[in-house]
Amino acid sequence: MRIESPAAFAEFRKSAQAKLAQRRAEVLVCCGTGCLANGAAAVAEAFAATLDGSATEVKTFTKRTGCHGFCERGPLVVLRPAGILYTKVKPRDVKEIVDKTLKGGTVIPRLLYKEPTSGQRIEHYQEVPFYKHQTRVAMRRIGHIDPTDFEDAIAHGAYGGLVKALGMTPEEVLREVEISGLRGRGGAGFSTARKWRSCRNAKGERKFVLCNGDEGDPGAFKDRSIMEGDPHSVLEGMIIGGWAIGAHEGIIYVRDEYPLAVVNLTLAIQQARDAGLVGQNILGSGFAFDIRISRGGGAFVCGESSALMRSLEGKVGEPRAKYVHATDRGLYDLPTVLNNVETWADVGAILEHGGAWFAAMGTTKSKGTKAFSLVGKVKNTGLIELPMGMTLRQIIYDIGGGVLNDRPFKAVQTGGPSGGCVPEALLDLPVDYEKLTEAGSMMGSGGMIVMDDRTCMVDVARYFLKFLTEESCGKCVPCREGLHQMLAMFDDLVAGRGKPGDIERIERLSRGMQLGSLCELGKSAPNPVISTLRYFRDEYVAHLERRECPAGICRDLTTYEIMPETCDGCHACFKACPVEAITGKVKELHVIHQDKCIACGACYDACPTQAIRFLPKHQLAARGVA
C-alpha cells in the first residue's frame, strides 16, 4: 500500500501503534546472529508454538528481534511490558516461562541475570548494569522490533525523521545535521554535514549516496546488528541524505559475510518501495530516491572509501589517491557521499528529534552517542551504545562489570586493527575522537578489547600487524614491503631473536609508513606498534635485550614451574595441560616436565592456589634444568 502524503503517513503510524497496543504482552526473543548461534530460533519457535493456541487467552505475541547486544548471555528473552529479562533461555524453559511468568505473573529467578560480583539476581532489563548506562540512538529500535515487520518499525518511529526532512528545504536539513555535530562513525570522524555540503555544492546532475556496510574490523559487529536489527533506520538516513545533497540513487555496500543483513535490507527496501518511501514521488513530495544493495568483495581494504567505489564500479577494489574528494569525484567520477551504517542510522533520529537534542549529548567536539563492541577480558561483553565522553573506567567497570576473574587491568585496545592500546593510567580518559587520538589510539569503528595482566604488549602489536599484513592490498611499497618487514622483526622479537637496533628500526619504518603509504590502511598500520612502544617500551626492551617476556606469554621465552611449597596436589593443572606435560597424583606434589611443556600457560591459569609461576626460559637453562 502506497502512503501518498505526510498526513497519510501519520494515519498509518497511528493505526500501527493502535494494533501494537492491543497486545497485552510481548515476548521478545533475540534472534541476532549471536543468540541464533546459541539456539534462539528453537526458543522462538517454542514460544510461538506454545502461545499460538492460547493467544486469544493471553493476547501475547512472540517477536523475533535483532541483536540485544548482550550476546554472551544469549539466547535472551525480554517480556514486555514488565521488562523482565531472561538470559540463556533454552527451549525447555519456554513452557515454564509461559505458565509462571506470562500467565502466573511470577518471575523465575534461575533465568534472571546474575550480577557477577554480588551474586544478586536482577529482574528488569533496564536495571542490568550492561543496559542501565546505555543511551541508544543508532540502535534505538534494535531489540524492540521485528526487523522484518514494517508496521512494527513504523509504530516504533521509523521514517518519522524523513517525514520531517521532506517538510524542510535541503538547506534546512543540512543545517540540522550541522547543529547535531554528527561525525562519521566509520573511522576518521569527519563532519557529516561538511561532507554533505561539499557534495551538494559539487557540480553535476547525478550524485550518489553510499552506505559503507563492509565492517571489516575483526570482531566488530555493530554495523551488522544495525543492518540486521533495524534496516529501516539505514534506509531512512540515506533518503534524508539524498534529499539534502540532491541525489536520487543510493547503494548499500554490504560485507559478503553478512547474509542476514542482505536478506533484511532487501526486504526493507521492498517494504519501503511498496509504501512509497523509496522510489518516485516519496510521500507525495515529488522527490525520487532509489536504493540498491551491492555485496562486498570480501577484502578488508574494500571498506576504504576509494577502494569501495572502485569495487562498486566492478573494478579491482584497490585504493587510489584522494587529492580530489569523493564529494566532487567519487563513484564513476560523480559527486558521492559515503557514510558508515551507524552514521546513517543516526540521521533519522537527528531529524526526528532535532540537531540540538543530539548535540546535547557528548563532549565539546564529539556529539551524540557511539556504538562500541566491548570484548576481551571483561565480565560483560557485547554491543553497547553510550554518550560520547563516558570514561574508559565507566565503560569497562560499570557496563563491562570489570576485568574477567578480577585480574589486574592492563590496557584497552580501541579503534580496530589500526587503533592503539590505552594503559591503566588513562582509564579516566573520556572517550571521544580527540581524546583517543591524543592518547595515541583512535575511535575507529568502536572496537574495545580489554586486556588483563596476562597480555604481552609486543605480542598484541604483532597480532594486529599480522592481520594488516594479510590485508594490505600490496599496491604501494611502504605498506606492502613495510608491513612484511615489520612483522618479520616482531616475529624475531617474540622468539628472542631480536637484533640490536630493532626498536629504532621499527620506529623509523613506522614513520616512513605513516608518511609514505597510499591509503589509511598503510598510514595507520603502525599505530598498534607506536602506542605499545609509547606506554610499554620496557616490554620491548625486555624482549630484545634480556630475551624475556614480562607477561609470560611469548612461548619461546617463557617456562612454567610448580612451587613445591604451595602445591596442594589438587590435580587441576594436570587436567588443564593440553600436552600431558604434568605428572602427579591427587594430594601429591605435581611436576611440569620441561621437555614436553609448550609454555601455553593453561596450568598457570587453572591453579587455584597460585602454586605455578612463570619465569624466563634462560633462567631455567642457567639452572641446568632445560
Partner: protein
C-alpha cells in the same frame, strides 16, 4: 575543496622558485618543466598516474597553514594557485630512503634499485633481504600499458607481499597479442621474451610473425595486426608494412606532393 581542473594559469612555488602552470596539472610535470627532478618508479607520461612506488613524495603547504605540510605524491597531485612545494625536505628524503631501503630488500640484485638506493646513501638494506630476489618492483607499468592499448592480458594478482604480475591462472594469456609493450616499458627488464624473424614468445605464448612486404623484416605478430586493425577501423594490411617502410612511403608521398620526386617513382627498395 572543489576540483579546479579548469586549466586556469596559476603560480606556485617549488623549492623556493616561482613556477607557472595550469591548475589541475600534476605537480611532477610542472616540476620537470621547471627543471626540478623528482625521482619516480611507477610513473609514465603516457599512462594515468598510479601512485604505487611512493618515491615521488613531496611536501606541500599553503599560505595560512602555519608551516604545516602535507606529504603528497607529485605524480598525482593536481596543482593550484599559491601552493608551496618542497621536493627535498628532510622528511621527504627520509621517506624516500625508507621506500628505497624496502625496495632494496625486495630486489637486492636489481641494478636500477641499487643505483637509486645508493643515491640516497643506502648501500645495503637495513631489512631482511628477499631470500628469492626478484627484479619486479610491482610498478604495474606493464599491466597498465597493456590496459592502455585495450588488451588487458596481464594483471597484478594476490594481496600484500604475495602480489605479482601474472596472466590469468598463470597460463599463457589468451588475450595477449605479443606486442612486447609490457616488456619494453618494464624499468627493470624483468619480463622475458624471445623474438626472431619467424616467431615470438612472451608470457609462455608463441606468436607467428608478419613480414613487411616492402623490406621483408618480421616486425609484428599476426594477433597484433588483427588487434590494431579491429581498433582503428583500418584494414589489417595497413599493419603488415613496417613502421620504417611506412615512414619512407609517407616521406615519398610528401616529397612527391612538393614536386621533388618524379610522380609514380617506385618506392626505394
Amino acid at each position: 575543496m572543489s576540483i579546479e581542473n579548469s586549466g586556469k594559469p596559476v603560480t606556485l612555488t617549488i623549492d623556493g622558485k616561482p613556477v607557472q602552470a595550469h591548475s589541475g596539472e600534476f605537480l611532477l610535470a610542472v616540476a620537470q618543466r621547471a627543471g626540478i627532478t623528482i625521482p619516480t618508479l611507477c610513473h609514465h607520461p603516457a599512462l594515468e598516474p598510479y601512485g604505487g612506488c611512493r618515491l615521488c613524495v613531496v611536501d606541500v603547504t599553503e599560505e595560512g597553514w602555519d608551516g604545516w605540510c602535507k606529504m603528497v605524491i607529485a605524480c598525482q597531485f593536481p596543482v593550484k594557485e599559491g601552493i608551496i612545494a618542497f621536493t627535498a625536505s628532510e622528511r621527504v628524503i627520509e621517506t624516500r630512503r625508507v621506500v628505497l631501503d624496502l625496495l632494496l630488500a625486495r630486489c637486492p640484485d636489481t641494478p636500477l634499485i641499487q643505483r637509486l638506493a645508493r643515491e640516497y646513501g643506502i648501500e645495503k638494506t637495513s631489512y631482511v633481504p628477499n631470500p628469492n630476489p626478484t627484479d619486479c618492483i610491482l610498478c604495474a607499468l606493464c599491466t597498465r600499458v597493456c590496459d592502455h592499448i585495450g588488451v588487458s592480458a596481464i594483471a597484478t594478482v594476490n594481496r600484500g607481499i604475495g602480489r605479482e604480475v601474472a596472466p590469468p591462472y598463470h597460463q599463457p594469456p589468451p588475450d595477449c597479442i605479443g606486442c612486447l609493450a609490457c616488456a619494453e616499458i618494464c624499468p627493470t627488464d624483468y619480463i622475458p621474451y624471445t623474438t626472431s624473424s619467424t616467431s615470438r614468445t612472451i608470457w609462455g605464448k608463441s606468436f607467428e610473425m608478419l613480414r613487411c612486404p616492402t623490406c621483408g623484416r618480421a616486425h609484428i605478430t599476426v594477433e597484433q595486426a588483427r588487434h590494431f586493425a579491429g581498433h582503428g577501423g583500418v584494414s589489417e594490411d595497413y599493419f603488415t608494412t613496417c613502421d620504417a617502410c611506412k615512414r619512407k612511403q609517407m616521406a615519398g608521398t610528401f616529397q612527391r606532393l612538393q614536386g621533388v620526386l618524379p610522380a609514380a617513382a617506385p618506392p626505394a627498395r
